[in-house]
Structure formats: structure tokens, C-alpha cells
């Protein structure tokens, strides 16, 4: 029996919108600690890892582990039916064939319920080890989104070079090239505006902008993004949820043909 209530429907809405472009189908694994999702996109370049902790719910109950195989496209349509401020409750039986979504208006006495058929989705669960990264960048998430959007116009790939105290995002295309250079910056009044660059070893990596463009859909979930990079390993893009939990994207870098 799963019962999870969100104070505001907007949170789940944002989460689903953030990942539905990367993966179409995925399993929502519900345990007593919260809700997790792990899914890989069709090209197996991008891995999405989501944790919505128990604290993100105003009420959460899950007696037994439940797996909900959800078609995100349909789910997102359902979520769009609720207002952002509504209470949202997810309800599922122990061996569910559908999941119920209930919206409750906070002011008016309106309750709406939607039921979504579940699917059986095969998926293997990858264990991702915590690992050492060569450099860690924390920056405002809108800032990163802008860089990605801007440079996407030029080329299909983004080169990230981290040296000493600066990071350089650049892309080179047929029509021209561009780059954005950021240096560490700390804003005392608004810490979320700070840019923090932590460097162990210099890094020079290239990513497909197509995937990055999917990643930045999560921008509205958190005010800052943490990017962890290491040579020849998938980079980690992490959005921390204020309410508790995270949304992580693991993106494999492009390798130069020469390599």
C-alpha cells in the first residue's frame, strides 16, 4: 500500500517534466524511505537517477516495496490536470495494476482523481559507486541552462575545460564558435548565485548538447546545479531537491575519434 502526499502538485509535475524527455518509460520504486527512479535513455548515454525522499512528502507511507511501471508521457498528462498548489496524493495497492493520483484544491472543496494503468517494464538496476571526481563545479542552475541553450545554436557538442579556477564551456561549429568562461564567484547575500569551482585535476571533456539540453529541463527543480567531472567517466549533473532528495543525470562524455 503506497500513499504519498505532496503539499504541492508542482513538485512532482516538475520532476516528471524534467525526465520525461530523457526516458519514456520507467519504474518508480517505492520503499519506506521514499521514491526512486533509475532509468537509461534509449541510446544508453544518459542515466537518470531520482530520489524523492520521505521528507519531500507531507505524508508518506509505503508498507511494502512497490514498483510502479509508468509511462511518463501519460503520467505527465495527468499531472497537468492539477493546479500547481493542489495537494497531490499518489495511491497504489500492494500489487497494483494502476496508480491513482488525487488532486485536492487547498481553498476550494474540489477533489479530482485520475488513475493510470501501469506497465511491466524490464530494467536492470545499476549500482553506481560513489567515486572521486577530478573537478566539481557548483553554479546557479539557470546559468548553466543558459550556457547550454546558447551554445547549442553553434554546434552539437560542448567542450568543458576546467583549469585552476576557471571553467570554459566552448563549442565549435561550421558557422563559428563560442565559449563561456566562468570563474569562482561568491555572493554573500545570495549564496545560490555563487559559482564554486573545486579542482583536483584539470579536466577536458566533450558532451553531446542534445543530452545536456534534456538535462537542463530540470532547472526549475533546484536553484543550483552541481557538475562533477572526471576524465573518461560519465559526468554527474545533480539537482538537489529542496524538500529532500535529488535528481541526478549521468552523462557519458564523447570521445574524440582519434582516441
Amino acid at each position: 500500500m503506497l500513499e504519498g502526499k505532496f503539499d504541492e502538485a508542482s513538485l512532482l509535475k516538475k520532476i516528471v517534466d524534467a525526465i520525461k524527455d530523457s526516458v519514456k518509460l520507467c519504474n518508480f520504486n517505492c520503499t519506506e524511505h521514499g521514491l526512486t527512479v533509475q532509468a537509461v535513455d534509449d541510446s544508453r548515454v544518459l542515466l537518470v537517477s531520482l530520489l524523492v525522499g520521505q521528507s519531500a512528502f507531507s505524508e508518506y507511507r509505503c508498507d511494502r516495496d512497490i514498483t510502479l511501471g509508468i509511462d511518463l508521457e501519460s503520467f505527465s498528462k495527468i499531472l497537468r490536470c492539477g493546479n500547481n498548489e493542489d495537494f497531490l496524493t499518489l495511491l497504489a495497492e500492494d500489487k497494483p495494476d494502476n496508480v491513482m493520483t488525487i488532486f485536492e484544491d487547498k481553498k476550494k472543496e474540489r477533489v479530482s482523481e485520475y488513475s493510470l494503468k501501469l506497465m511491466d517494464i524490464d530494467s536492470e538496476f545499476l549500482n553506481i559507486d560513489d567515486m572521486e571526481y577530478d573537478s566539481v563545479i557548483t553554479m546557479p542552475s539557470p546559468e548553466f541552462a543558459k550556457i547550454v541553450k546558447d551554445l547549442k545554436n553553434l554546434s552539437e557538442s560542448l567542450n568543458v575545460v576546467v583549469t585552476k579556477d576557471s571553467v570554459k564551456f566552448s563549442s565549435e561549429g561550421e558557422n563559428g564558435s563560442g565559449s563561456v568562461i566562468l570563474k569562482s564567484y561568491s555572493d554573500m547575500d545570495r549564496p545560490e548565485e555563487s559559482i564554486n569551482i573545486n579542482l583536483e585535476n584539470p579536466v577536458d571533456l566533450t558532451f553531446g548538447l542534445k543530452y545536456l539540453n534534456d538535462i537542463i529541463k530540470a532547472t526549475s527543480l533546484a536553484s543550483s546545479i552541481t557538475i562533477k567531472l572526471a576524465d573518461k567517466t560519465p559526468a554527474l549533473f545533480e539537482y538537489k531537491l529542496d524538500a529532500g532528495g535529488y535528481l541526478r543525470f549521468y552523462l557519458a562524455p564523447k570521445f574524440d575519434e582519434e582516441d
Binding site: 502526499k5 503539499d7 508542482s10 508498507d63 496524493t89 485536492e104 487547498k106 481553498k107 472543496e109
Partner: protein, 1126 residues
């Protein structure tokens, strides 16, 4: 209906099907079988009332078949109730439990509510075993013991039951069974996006109790919005705990949105009676946030919190129909209904006396001044007041005889000052006794007063016998609750003596001073003038107080000091404290003196904010009495602030009109008296000003009433004493309005000005600038009013105007107009002609002078001053002739001399005065030599010097003279220049031999005022000379005692009727022996008539109603419009 059945109800897990249900009943209790048959029989044989049948069907639907007797008895019991079905169900099921021995004994009916609640309050998970409502009594007992330690923390009291609609927020697979218990909880959203923070989500959710199938609670629904509003804040604050169960079984499984009914028992928790954090916050806010005091629009967070709580509590009580209990004669007034109905149904707490509310309902929309007045007096007749004896002040000190109500008032004042020993002593002096009981009662007087903001409530199930447990108290304004009676301990020694004007407040105050002249307590403060009472009065009353003091003082050691003007001392302590023999027991000073002393030292405060010790501020007085205390009604005025700074251990206010304009006028008085907690302005504002502005007039007045009750005494002239006699018998007063016609010239002048004024008004009205041009319009109005009195009043204005360049144009208009006006009349052409005529008069006049006879009134020997000489050299009384001319003019006849029929004109008359005309002068003009100087002087009479009003006044005065009136006459006007003219004219027309004019206006110095009043009061009746006091309305409106006169004339109306009434009350007050007759002169068809209209309007509306600024403006414009409408 045994345990099985109960279990059945308690366990929704079991499937419920009506047929099955019937079976189970049949199997388990054979009794029912027969009963069922009985019911069937009954139905067939005798179709009972429809109502009953419906009831029966309904109840059978829910409970299954019941024994007919049970059904019948239930029906009988609840027949009249609207929701009889629910009540019956409830009652029936409760009853079922109680008679069962053993198992259920452990859970008495109350515990049905109590037990579950214990856990629910905090949403603690209920132990599984317990939740099952185990059969074993032992287990129950054990559990009870376990819980008993918690019990103390979770003290709670039942206050009522609600039946509520709820609706499912999710599908629930099973039907809900009757009495299935529910938990009500609230989840506070943890994070809300910024904009929503304020509105807060208000959802109160309902959960199933854990049971076999679902070991954990499950949400199933939520309450409807109305209850949510009430419960949400209370649950958040843990002020209440709720126990609920399903009220009506649902037929099938619930889907989202389905409604179901639950019963909610409401309990107040201990927290409700102890925690008041938000209140402290409010206090802090008062202390710290000085600015916020002036910005009441902004609501702080704590305030909104408080408001929510207040709202919730009051709504909850409303819902539960908990009403405050009122006490009458120490007995609780309550409906008997309460006793009869045992089950906690809605009516059970209906204990109210409702008349009070109804009486006020009518007033709710509007409250005029009169109503406020009656509201004062309404609270007066408290028991305690009646218990007070009549006392007289010690004879060795006080030499006047007091009236009965004054004696009563004195004992009230003594009680207020807590001088009970003296009170007792004085009672005995009065050959009366006072029982110890009444003394005790008086002692309790203000200790027993409950805080007016609090109301008493009664626990619906009052098991306890003693009062402590029977009641609880709630503050409907803040939502606070308390188990102890919230008493106001007023430490204030003093109060407000608000007897109506003329009831002798001064004497009452003096009797108090003479009864308790010194502080007999321990004096440890070196700057404490413990022997002195400071009396603060308006300047015009200064000497009156001194005089009254001397009049009543019998003790040669007591003296009174006037502290005014030059006499101020730098340090009063030398005079008032120490070994000096003659310490004045009374110091009289004026508001002005205090203000000027205060202004001098105000800026020189020491770092602690204390004023430097000089003058009146150097000592702490034994007692301060402020006369006409409404002077300090504006709390921000400097005068008021200076008064607040004075120190004394006892403070009194004398005022006939504690509220002049606004309810807030009372605040200053309360502040001066240091009446906690109302002297805190934000407190006052929160509980009085704001609610009043929000039109909660009845409630607010209730509060004000209770605040004032202990410290306020008001008697009015028409009140009756205990024997039913009026307090004061005053001779009747007659106010007559005399309408006077304009004479031609005045009419022309008036119309000219009126046209101008209304033109200007209409222009500004059209351009919407009425208020901006307010002063200009007022000037126009003023001129019109002045013309009504005397044209010379404006000629002064005209002269002033000439100096103003801006108004040059208008001036020219006016001058031209005036010129034309003057040319209209027949006049002497020039100076030469005048002189020629004038000096030709001497000889003929001289010849007649011995035996002048007015051929109009046929009186002989007219006084020289009254003579008037026509062109044809006939002599008449001036008034007679003027009347004659006026008469002829009105009847459209040419003005002719009554004697010789020669044409005459007002402008061609001569007067004679008692002066010498020298030979030389006469010769210069006439070329005639005479032997000696003429003993009289002839001069041209100028009719423009007088006015219709003055003429009317003179007529009256002449009439009174004819009646040989031997008392003074009073003439009121608001224009002191008009008084000058009147004085002049009276002297001229009646002659200063026969009238003696005294003029009292703002220009008079203190000493002159005193002298003048003395002269007036010592008026000796002399048959020939009439004393006339010309009194300026504003300077003489207050305080003066003019009872030696009984005739008054009001020359012009004032905007506010109360000012005029006050003026009239100078005559019509205690001491007046004769009928008072007042004539008000009003010019016909003039602005003055319209002013009367406005006065009427003001009387009925009163300015007390909390009017918005906008409303005030609208009203002002309305007033002006009335003035200008045709």
C-alpha cells in the same frame, strides 16, 4: 443488543449486508425476534403518525430492527428535535453500552470520548491491542493504568459535539459502519511557495482508526471548509482535541468525493488554558515597535495569528452554541432546558440570556449621542452603588448642606478612594449606620469586577459541584481561555464624576476634599505633597472654585491657594511640604498654567525621561481633580500631555460630557486615570477603536461599559432618587425662536451677498473643489451670518478687504453696491443741509423740552436719550417712531409724521443728548447769538447704526422694563464686535441711565472677569436700571454660574446645538429659582434658518458614530448645500 452487535459496529472490516445483519440479530438475540413481530403488527394494525413512521424507517435503516418500546421511547424523547434521527441514534447506542455489566463498566460513557482522545490528540499511534477495544476488562484496566500518567498532561474537557459533513478524498473499499471511530488530524504543509504562505492551506483530514486489517491509520476524507476554518488553527495550536465517529452508516463503499457524516466531540486541552505565547508577542510588539502604534493598518504576524485564533474560538463556540453565562443577583441565569437534555446534543449548552443582545440590535446600525448617554446611565445602577450610604462631610470642615444625591456621590467617591474608615465614620455622623457587610461589599467593589473582555462559560457536563470546576472563562476578543476568573484589580484611586451640568460637581468635589484632606498613610516620598489637592480648571472657573471653597470651608486651618500667572513658584515643595503652618489643602490652577509650565520644561528632560522638578511638576500631589475634564480629550494635544505628566496618588475627573465627539475621547480620561490596561493606547485601539470602526458597535460599547463601570458615576437631572423623586427640581425652561424680518436695506445687502456666495459655491461645486475652497465658502457664509446680525460687522470686513490687492475687483463691486444702496434712501444732500436743519432745531426743542409727550405711546416726560426729533420738529420716543415708520412702510404708505402729516424719513431724524452745545458753536452755524450755552446737543440719527435684531432686542428689553423686572438680563452672541454694537445701541436708545451693560468676552483679563462677575452677581434690584450682561458665547459658554438671571437672548445661532444648550444651562442650573425664558433671534428666510436645520440634523445623527473621513466630507458638503439651497 449485546457485545456482538457492538463489535459489529466497530468493525467495518466485516461485510455488512442488511439481510445478513438482520440474521445476525435474529440469531444472537431471540428477544428481537418477538419485537420485530411486534413492530410489524403495529405497522399493520395502526398506522402511527407519518412522522413516526418516517422516523422508524429511518432508524431501522441504520440500526436494524429495534424493539418497539425502544423505538417509541426514542421517538418520544426526540420528537421535537429537528435532527431527531441523529440524536436518537446517538442516544440509543450510548444507552446500550451503559447498562451492560462488567466489560463496559470499565468504559463509562464519558470514556467513550476520553479514551480514544488520549492518544489521538497528538496523533500518537494507538497500541494495536487497545485499539481493538478488547473484550477483556483486565486488559482495559491495565491500559488505563498505563495511560494514567499521560492523563495529567492530556487534561481535557468536553465542550460539545458537532455533527459534520465530511467527504472522502479517496476511495474506501468498505462501507463505513456506525460509530466507527475516526481520527481527525491536520497536516501542516511543510513548504509553501512564497505567495501562498499567508493564506495557508486549510485542510483537516479524517483518518480511520487502525484495526485488524489495516494496522495503520488511513486517510479517508476531509472536513468541509466551514469546520476546517475553525478547527485548523485550533488543532495547529493544540488547543482542542477531537474525537469523532461515523454518524450515519454508509450504504456502500466510498468513492472520492462521497459525503459521509461524522460526529465530532470537541474537547479543550490544557494548552488552551495555559499557553498564550501569541499574547506575549503582542505585548512585545507594543513595547518595541513604537512606530507600529501609529500604523495600525499594518498587521503584524502575531496579530494575524491572534486574529485567527480569536476567529476560530469564537466560531467554534458559536457552532457548539456555547454562550456566555450571565449572572443576575449572583444566580446564574440559564435555560432549564439544559438540565433536561442529558445527551450532548446541540442545545445542551444553550444557557443564554438573550434579551440583552436583542435590545442592542436596533442600535447596531446607528448610535447617536442620546443613546450613548442612556448607555452611560444604564450601567450606573449597579448593586454596589445602591448599597452605598448617604454621608455628609465633617461639619467642622464643610459648611454647606449637600443634596441627597451629592451625599450619595460623596460616599461613592470615598469608596473609590478606599477610605472606608472615613466613610464609616461619616455615616455615623449622619445618624445612619452601615453594616459590615456593605463595607465588605464595597471593599470587593473593584476586586470583583471581571475583565470586561472575558465572558463566563459553563462546562456542558458539569459534574463538579463547586463553581471552580463548573465554569471556564473565555476572552472573545483574543481567543484566550482561562479556568480562573480573570479579575481586574484596579489600583486606581479616583474616577470620573460625570454628573450632568448643574448638578454641583464642584460642591461634590469640595466635599470630598474636605472629608479627606490629607493622606493619612505612610509618607516616604520627600516630594509628596500629601496635604494638598490640586484642582485644574478652565480659566473662567478659577475664581469660582476659590469662592466656593471659601463658602464651604469651616476649618480655619484649611486654606486654598490660587496658582495662576505671576504667582507661580519655582519650587512648590517649599509651600506644600514641610513644617509650614498653613499648607493649602487645595491649590487651584488652570490648564493654561500647566501647559505653559510644561512647555518651558518639556525639552529639558533628563536621560530617563523625567521632567525637571519645577513648579507644579516638582511635587506629587495627594489628589488631582480636573474640572471640565473633557478639555484633555485629545490625547495628542499638548495640554493633555502636560496633564498626564502630573503626579498624584488619587486622580479625579469632573466633566458633564465625557464624550464630545468620538468614543476615543474617553481614552484620554482613562489614560489620565492610569487605568490599567486601557491606558495603553494600542490596547485601547485594538479593543475599542478598531472594532468600533468596524461597526461592531454593540460589542465595543459593552466593553467600554465594563471598563467604565467601576470608575464612573453619572447622574442626570431627570434621574430619580431611590424614593422616586427627581434628583433636582429645576424650574421649567422655555426656549422661543423669534423670527425677525430684514428691513429693506438689510435685505438688499443680504441678497447681494447671498447671490455672490451661492454663485461662488455653485462654481466650486461644479468644479468639485468644494473642500479646497472650504475656507472661502466659510467666509461667504460668515458674512451672511454677520449681515443677519448687523451690517457694520461686515463693513469691518470690507475695510479689511480693501487692503487686499487680490480682491480689488470684488471691492469695487461692493463699494458700488454700497453706494447705490445708500443713495436709494431719502437723505440730506450734504453736510450743510444737515447743519442747517440741525441747528434750527435747538430753539423749538428747547421750548418743548419741559413737557415732551410722545403722541404715539402717550407717555410724558420722555428721557432725553430716548427722544427723537423729526424734521418737522416733533418729538417722539425713538422706538415708537421707528416702529411707526416701519409700520407705514410695510403697509405701503408714505412715511408721515403722526402729528403734522409731513413726510418723514428715517434718515432725517435727530437725536438729543445730554451735552453742552456752546454759544460759539451755535453762533458759528446759525449766526445767532444766545445768552448761554444750550444744555443739550442735537445730532443726526443714523439708522444704519442699529439693525433689525437690535431693534427686536430693544423692544424686548423695553417690555421687560415695563414689567419692572428686577433681575439682570443676559444677551449671548458669538461676535464680540456685535456685542460692542449692541452695548452702544442700548446705551443710545434706552439710555445709560436705565441700562447698565456689562460685557464679558474673550478680551477680558482674568481680574476683570472676576470683577465683572462679582458686579453681576451682586446685582441690586433697582427699579429703574436694568443690568444687561453681554456674554460672548465662546468665552462664557462654560462653567459660569449665572443663575441670578432668568431671561436670556441669543442673538445668533451657532452650528452646534450643544454649545447653545450649554450656554443656556448657565442660567438653567441648580440655584435657579425662576422659570427660565430664552429668546433666540433668527432672521427670517436667511441662512440662520438653515443653520437651525443643520442643528436639528446634528442632534439626531450625533457625531459619535464612527464616520470615515470620506463620510465626514460628504456630510460637510451636504451641510453647505443645505445652507445654499433655496
Amino acid at each position: 443488543m449485546s457485545r456482538e452487535k457492538r463489535r459489529f459496529f466497530n468493525d467495518p472490516g466485516e461485510s455488512i449486508d442488511v439481510s445478513e445483519f438482520e440474521n445476525s440479530v435474529l440469531f444472537n438475540s431471540p428477544n428481537n425476534d418477538t419485537v420485530e413481530n411486534v413492530i410489524k403488527e403495529e405497522n399493520v394494525v395502526e398506522p402511527v403518525k407519518d412522522d413516526f413512521t418516517t422516523f422508524q424507517v429511518d432508524i431501522t435503516n441504520v440500526l436494524g430492527k429495534l424493539p418497539f418500546e425502544t423505538l417509541k421511547s426514542l421517538y418520544d424523547r426526540f420528537e421535537d428535535k429537528e435532527d431527531k434521527l441523529m440524536l436518537a441514534l446517538d442516544h440509543h447506542l450510548k444507552k446500550e453500552e451503559s447498562p451492560k455489566p462488567n466489560e463496559y463498566k470499565v468504559i463509562p460513557p464519558i470514556s467513550l470520548e476520553n479514551n480514544p482522545k488520549r492518544k489521538r490528540t497528538r496523533g500518537i499511534q494507538i497500541p494495536f491491542a487497545y485499539a481493538k477495544r478488547s473484550n477483556s476488562s483486565l486488559e482495559q484496566l491495565l491500559l488505563k493504568k498505563e495511560k494514567s500518567s499521560d492523563e495529567e498532561d492530556e487534561w481535557k474537557k468536553y465542550v460539545g459535539t458537532l455533527y459534520a459533513d465530511a467527504f472522502a478524498t479517496r476511495p474506501y473499499m468498505k462501507p463505513l459502519a456506525y460509530a466507527k471511530e475516526m481520527t481527525i488530524r491536520r497536516i501542516k504543509p511543510k513548504s509553501l511557495s512564497g505567495k501562498d504562505k499567508k493564506q495557508d492551506s486549510a485542510v483537516v483530514r479524517i483518518y480511520t482508526r487502525p484495526h485488524d486489517e489495516f494496522p495503520e491509520e488511513r486517510e479517508i476524507g476531509r472536513l468541509k471548509e466551514d469546520l476546517t476554518r475553525i478547527f485548523a488553527p485550533l488543532l495547529d495550536l493544540k488547543l482542542i482535541s477531537l474525537v469523532s465517529s461515523v454518524m450515519v452508516e454508509t450504504k456502500k463503499r466510498l468513492s472520492t468525493g462521497d459525503a459521509f457524516y461524522i460526529k465530532i466531540d470537541v474537547f479543550l486541552t490544557k494548552t488552551a488554558f495555559t499557553a498564550k505565547p501569541e499574547y506575549n508577542e503582542l505585548d512585545n510588539f507594543k513595547k518595541n515597535d513604537v512606530k507600529a502604534r501609529f500604523n495600525f493598518g499594518a498587521e503584524t504576524e502575531s496579530e494575524s495569528f491572534l486574529r485567527l485564533r480569536q476567529y476560530a474560538i469564537s466560531r467554534l463556540f458559536n457552532k457548539l452554541q456555547i454562550k456566555s453565562v450571565k449572572f443576575k443577583d449572583n444566580k446564574e441565569v440559564m435555560s432549564t432546558q439544559f438540565e433536561m437534555v442529558e445527551s450532548p446534543n446541540k442545545e445542551s449548552i444553550d444557557l443564554e440570556v438573550e434579551e440583552t443582545e436583542e435590545t442592542f440590535e436596533e442600535n447596531e446600525s446607528e448610535l447617536n449621542l442620546d443613546q450613548l448617554q442612556s448607555f452611560y446611565s444604564a450601567n450606573q445602577q449597579s448593586e454596589i452603588l445602591k448599597a452605598l450610604p448617604y454621608v455628609i462631610p465633617p461639619k467642622e470642615n464643610f459648611g454647606l448642606e449637600l443634596r441627597n444625591y451629592q451625599k450619595h456621590g460623596l460616599s461613592w467617591m470615598l469608596a473609590r478612594e478606599k477610605e472606608l474608615d472615613i466613610l464609616k465614620m461619616l455615616v455615623e455622623d449622619n445618624d445612619d449606620t452601615i453594616s459590615q457587610e456593605s463595607i465588605d461589599e464595597i471593599k470587593l467593589m473593584d476586586e470583583g469586577v471581571m475583565n470586561p473582555l472575558w465572558k463566563t462559560f459553563k462546562w456542558p457536563k458539569a459534574e463538579a459541584k463547586d463553581n471552580l470546576d463548573k465554569y471556564f472563562y473565555g476572552n472573545i476578543h483574543s481567543g484566550e481561555l482561562s479556568l480562573e476568573k480573570p479579575l481586574i484589580k484596579s489600583s486606581v484611586k479616583g474616577g470620573i464624576l460625570s454628573d450632568e451640568m448643574g448638578l454641583g460637581k464642584t460642591i461634590s468635589a469640595l466635599s470630598l476634599i474636605n472629608s479627606v484632606p490629607y493622606d493619612t498613610g505612610i509618607i516616604d516620598d520627600p516630594s509628596y505633597a500629601f496635604q494638598t489637592t490640586l484642582v485644574i480648571v478652565p480659566m473662567s472657573l478659577l475664581t469660582q472654585w476659590e469662592k466656593e471653597f471659601k463658602k464651604c470651608n469651616q476649618n480655619s486651618n484649611h486654606r486654598c491657594m490660587v496658582y495662576y500667572g505671576q504667582q507661580s513658584f519655582s519650587d512648590l515643595s517649599n509651600v506644600l511640604i514641610g513644617k509650614t503652618k498653613h499648607i493649602p489643602i487645595m491649590v487651584v490652577t488652570t490648564y493654561g498654567t500647566i501647559l505653559s509650565e510644561y512647555t518651558k520644561i518639556e525639552k529639558r528632560r533628563d536621560p530617563d525621561g523625567n521632567l525637571p522638578k519645577t513648579g507644579l511638576f516638582s511635587v506629587k500631589f495627594f489628589r488631582i481633580i480636573i474640572d471640565e475634564g473633557h478639555t484633555i480629550r485629545n490625547r495628542t494635544a499638548k495640554t493633555s500631555r502636560s496633564i498626564f505628566e502630573l503626579k498624584a496618588s488619587r486622580k479625579w475627573i469632573l466633566t458633564g460630557t465625557p464624550v464630545i465627539n468620538r468614543l476615543d475621547d474617553l481614552y484620554s480620561l482613562v489614560k489620565y486615570l492610569e487605568l490599567e490596561p486601557w491606558n495603553n493606547f494600542s490596547y485601547w485601539k485594538t479593543f475599542i477603536t478598531l472594532p468600533f470602526e468596524q461597526k461592531q458597535i454593540k460589542d465595543t460599547l459593552d466593553v467600554v461599559k465594563t471598563i467604565l463601570e467601576p470608575i464612573f458615576l453619572r447622574r442626570t437631572k431627570d434621574m430619580k432618587d431611590s424614593d422616586g423623586n427627581p434628583l433636582v427640581v429645576l424650574p421649567p425652561k422655555e426656549v422661543e425662536i423669534e423670527e425677525i424680518k430684514f428691513n429693506d436695506r438689510e435685505l438688499k445687502l443680504y441678497n447681494w451677498f447671498k447671490d455672490k456666495a451661492s454663485k461662488s459655491f455653485r462654481e466650486s461645486l461644479r468644479s468639485g473643489e468644494v473642500l479646497r475652497k472650504y475656507t472661502q465658502i466659510l467666509t461667504h457664509i460668515l458674512r451672511l451670518r454677520q449681515i443677519c446680525c448687523h451690517q457694520d460687522l461686515i463693513s469691518k470686513v470690507v475695510n479689511d478687504m480693501q487692503e487686499e490687492v487680490d480682491e480689488e475687483m470684488k471691492d469695487e463691486d461692493l463699494e458700488i453696491f454700497l453706494k447705490e444702496l445708500n443713495e436709494d434712501d431719502e437723505k440730506f444732500k450734504d453736510e450743510t443741509e444737515i447743519n442747517q436743519k440741525l441747528y434750527s432745531m435747538y430753539q423749538p426743542i428747547y421750548n418743548q423740552l419741559d413737557q415732551v409727550e410722545c403722541s404715539i405711546c402717550t407717555s410724558t416726560s420722555i428721557d432725553m436719550n430716548e427722544m427723537i426729533v423729526t424734521e418737522c420738529k416733533h418729538i417722539f420716543c425713538i422706538t415708537c417712531l421707528l416702529e411707526h415708520i416701519e409700520f407705514q412702510k410695510n403697509s405701503n404708505q408714505p412715511s408721515v409724521c403722526p402729528n403734522c402729516r409731513d413726510p418723514i424719513s428715517k434718515y432725517k431724524l435727530f437725536k438729543i443728548r445730554n451735552r453742552i452745545t456752546t454759544k460759539a458753536e451755535y453762533k458759528f452755524h446759525t449766526n445767532k447769538d444766545i445768552l448761554e450755552d444750550w444744555k443739550f446737543q442735537v445730532y443726526l440719527y443714523d439708522p444704519t447704526k442699529t439693525s433689525s435684531k437690535i431693534q427686536a432686542l430693544i423692544n424686548h428689553i423695553n417690555g421687560l422694563r415695563a414689567q419692572n423686572l428686577n433681575e439682570p438680563i443676559i444677551v449671548f452672541s458669538q461676535f464680540s464686535s456685535f456685542l460692542d454694537i449692541i452695548e452702544n445701541e442700548l446705551n443710545l436708545q434706552i439710555g445709560n441711565k436705565y441700562v447698565k451693560c456689562l460685557k464679558f468676552d474673550g478680551r477680558l483679563k482674568m481680574t476683570e472677569r472676576e470683577k465683572l462677575l462679582q458686579e453681576f452677581n451682586e446685582y441690586k434690584s433697582s427699579p429703574n436700571t436694568l443690568t444687561i450682561l453681554l456674554l460672548s458665547l465662546k468665552a462664557g459658554g462654560v462653567g459660569l454660574n449665572l443663575t441670578s438671571a432668568s431671561r436670556a437672548f441669543m442673538m445668533d445661532p451657532w452650528w452646534s446645538p450643544s454649545i447653545e444648550d450649554q450656554a443656556i444651562d448657565r442660567l438653567h442650573r441648580i440655584g435657579q429659582q425662576n422659570n427660565v425664558k430664552v429668546v433666540r433671534f433668527i432672521m427670517e428666510n436667511s441662512i440662520e434658518i438653515k443653520m437651525l436645520k443643520i442643528q436639528e440634523m446634528k442632534k439626531s445623527i450625533g457625531e459619535i458614530v464612527g464616520v470615515e473621513e470620506e463620510e465626514k466630507r460628504r456630510r460637510r458638503i451636504e451641510e453647505i448645500q443645505i445652507l445654499f439651497e433655496e
